[in-house]
């Protein structure tokens, strides 16, 4: 099994990815990275997460999201009360910046937390305890001195945001499919619809499981696997429809490759 990253270096690795690590600590970390597979893997993962998050579409969060985040930041003592007022439509630039920040948080946190929670699954499921052993380092990196419950609550909020992000993407994709003037043949359409319903069922079941057991790593992994699968299937279905419209048989066949990803 792949070695785990050293907890002593997790913070420095994240700072390196953020570009905030000083020269001396950077040199020390590089020496360590040369010798530690686990930390190298973590660095690579985080860099990939950063790149992936950077490529995501901007998301305009509803005001309640800001309130949740602001509340958490205030609880952690990281912002003053004056900064916590809700963003209004008169300050769209603030909202945009917030959206970008949230997007990075959402994308980064879900991608970061998922592998971590998978790794921590054994402990979490064996004891029925939250998956915090796998995710606490992320919280510590941010200098979070809040209680374990608060950390868990924050993580759950991030997952909810990530889930919302996926749902937004799904909504947009469904709108794109709806607006298409052409279509694939009815048998293939019916089959795809049926399979999307299968994925919907998986999403609904996993979501219900997360509501009943918020700390279940299996439920959480299952939910995000299903969401990712649906996004991929919708994206490639739209591409397939476009190729069908062109009457491009070879192109259609090529697209089978994409339709099956996810």
């Amino acid at each position: 099994m792949a070695s785990l990253p050293c907890s002593d270096h997790t913070a420095a690795i994240q700072e390196m990815v953020d570009g905030t690590l000083g020269a001396i600590r950077r040199s020390e970390l590089e020496l360590h990275l040369d010798q530690c597979d686990g930390c190298r893997a973590l660095l690579k993962d985080l860099q990939r997460i950063r790149d992936a998050a950077g490529s995501l579409d901007r998301l305009a969060p509803p005001d309640r999201v800001w309130l949740q985040v602001a509340g958490r930041l205030r609880q952690e003592g990281r912002i003053r009360a004056a900064h916590t007022r809700p963003v209004t439509s008169r300050r769209p630039y603030v909202l945009t910046a917030l959206a970008a920040t949230l997007l990075l948080m959402i994308g980064g946190s879900v991608l970061f937390l998922l592998p971590a929670t998978r790794g921590a699954r054994q402990a979490a499921t064996a004891t029925g305890a939250p998956a915090s052993p796998g995710v606490q380092p992320a919280a510590q990196v941010q200098g979070n001195a809040a209680s374990k419950d608060a950390v868990q609550e924050g993580i759950e909020a991030e997952f909810r945001l990530a889930e919302q992000h996926y749902q937004n993407a799904i909504t947009k994709l469904e709108e794109a499919a709806r607006s298409s003037e052409d279509s694939i043949d009815p048998q293939t359409a019916a089959m795809l619809q049926k399979n999307l319903q299968v994925i919907d069922q998986a999403i609904a079941e996993s979501s219900a499981a997360m509501r009943s057991e918020p700390t279940s790593v299996t439920a959480r992994d299952s939910l995000f696997d299903a969401l990712k699968r649906k996004v991929a299937l919708l994206q490639d279905t739209i591409a397939l429809m476009n190729e069908m419209r062109k009457g491009n048989a070879a192109g259609v066949a090529q697209l089978v490759d994409g339709v099956n990803k996810g």
């Binding site: 469904e174 003037e181 439920a219 992994d221 699968r229 397939l240 009457g247 490759d257 099956n260």
Partner: protein
Amino acid sequence: MTRRPIAPFAVFALTLATALPAAAQVYPERIPTAAHARVQRDRTDRGQRDQNREEQTERTTKTVKIGATGELDVANISGDVLVTRGNGQEATIEIVKTARAQSADDAKALLGLVNVEVTERAGRAEVRTRYPSGDEIRGQNRRNVNVSVAINITAPAGTRVSAHSVSGNVSARDIHGELTLESVSGNVTITGGGRVAGAKTISGNVDITGVDVDGELEASSVSGNVAIHKGKARRVTLSTVSGGVALEDVDAERVSMQAVSGDCSLAGNLASGGRYELTSHSGEIRIAVSSGTGFELDANSFSGSIRSDLPLTGQTTGSGDRRGRPQRSLHGTYGNGSAVLDLTTFSGSIVISKR
């Protein structure tokens, strides 16, 4: 969480009456409907209609010089593609067009509307099926072109083959050049062979037997089963949504098998140092291990049961909850623990047994 209905597919299926170009013409049954039941009824109607129709067939054969390690690129729209191993430096391409219409004359006329172009250049041959455009069809007072084309190719063993069909099966036998076989609505079958770049379908099964791949083998379907029997590959990735995935007697160091509602099944030897990740949402995960390599097990299910018939050392279990639900995690080591089994299902069960 807010569930979103899959409305677009109902909507776009309802907009099918729009005139479409060539690809549309191969679906004479195309009618504006979104209901699966309606589709099934159409299928039955079409079958009965075809039985009452006259059939005409046209068979032609072409030979192309592509060399022992040449390349074939086949794109069909409606009909099967089969590539089998031959000898020498040439590929023989048999094209069988089949038309159905109300009269024999009409069927014969339809045959002339569909062309199969074979082009050859520098060790590479392309086969393309061309249907008439919508305007051409309407110009002949027709609504559709009910013609399917079967393409049977005999090619040198080392030929690199890329074969696609929108509606039809795609198969290769004993071809050792790189294979990329894909279908939208049809099965993909590979028997023998050495390099499989991809074997994929949306609505159909993928079945691979007796391959020896020096690298990654990827196979997938959306609604069908994906199975590999007796073979070798460094890395295997299988996925489907509503079908099942199965691996039997395949030597591979890295295996990833994913299904949503179907089962995942792995039977055979595990590679020392190998890693096997099987995931299904509601399907069952079955592992049947042959004697030899041991493994480290990490099995998890949210609401299903987990059972190992093999003795595990250092075993830990996540107990069921107070409501008496079944065991939800099982971890431990069997034998030398040199392989890793990472098994996850949400509501299905997990069974590990000796083969």
